[in-house]
Symmetry: C2
Subunit: 159 residues, 2 copies
DNA sequence: GTTTAAAATTTCAAGCTTGAAATAAATTCT
DNA sequence: AGAATTTATTTCAAGCTTGAAATTTTAAAC
């Protein structure tokens, strides 16, 4: 028997904490799997994949600061990742005419080819990893996750 | 209108990919929030909190290798975190009688006190961050996440 | 009892991540 | 125009993370 809580509020607090631990276990596990596959099968990393995915969606290029905002990581972080992608010939920086401060990050042709291959694998991996859920369950789950997201976004942004 | 997919399998693959992106957004967002609060309000980090939580659950101490397995991180990783906790007087290493290779990591009295305070805040933070969900919704969500977990654990462990 | 293999840790290099400080260029104010 | 502010980006130090290599100790095999 579960010990009865002192109040309903305490009970739902425990329920939410339990939910958080499960969510964390699920996403950490999937993420670890994706990282391993990217590394072992494709000699790359999740941060590099994320940057390439962002650039693939913006063929005209993204300013470093926009890239950073889009991915919700620090400026210094994208600097390093784009540097390393550039070393491998997968991305490059393009000067912005009229603003000597800014650079557009873009995928090279080689980068586009590489990303297209990765993206297909990525979708398959995720599909397999979440294969325990039916389409209906996936949709229910997505709906609840989106509801939870609304709340965090609301409390995130105390404007 | 959504473009109709070539097959039901493709549709559910897209549904699962969408689910993954939402899950990632939710957990990354909450995690970032927790990291920020631990940092700004308590001058610590999530990895340190995780190690302290593991040690708090095992008052008799945990071997470094068990700690590493429990948290699913590398051996070298816990070495560094326990080093830094020890520098701050929150944890220490105890020799294992009869095995000169092994060490038990344990919280100090100071570490226990510090963790107890953190744990209370942590539960409240999570409760707030997931506050958009009713108790019923939390339970439904937990159930579905657990179902998804079973699958990943199954495919994770190709024994 | 040696040799061999296994187990427990640490060390290390490389990459990721952050926030803060430093540069440099554009914009705004007076 | 000249000064002050804002914007775009890089650099840096510190910590996290991993897998691989190195150490040390224990256990197993012969």
């Amino acid at each position: 028997m579960t010990p009865d809580p002192a109040s309903p509020a305490e009970a739902s607090s425990k329920t939410r904490l339990r939910l958080w631990l499960r969510l964390l276990k699920l996403t950490s596990g999937i993420e670890a799997d994706l990282r391993r596959k990217l590394r072992d099968d494709h000699d790359t990393t999740l941060p590099r994949f994320d940057v390439m995915a962002a650039l693939a969606r913006h063929p005209q290029g993204l300013k470093m600061s926009d890239l950073s905002r889009y991915l919700k990581v620090s400026n210094g972080n994208v600097t390093g990742i784009v540097d390393r992608l550039a070393e491998d010939g997968l991305a490059l920086r393009v000067a912005v005419p009229g603003d000597k401060r800014a650079n557009l990050a873009r995928l090279t042709a080689k980068g586009i080819t590489a990303f297209d291959a990765l993206a297909g694998h990525h979708e398959n991996w995720v599909n397999d990893l979440l294969g325990g859920l039916t389409a209906d369950e996936s949709q229910t789950l997505t709906g609840l996750v989106e509801k939870a997201l609304n709340q965090t976004e609301a409390s995130d942004d105390p404007s």
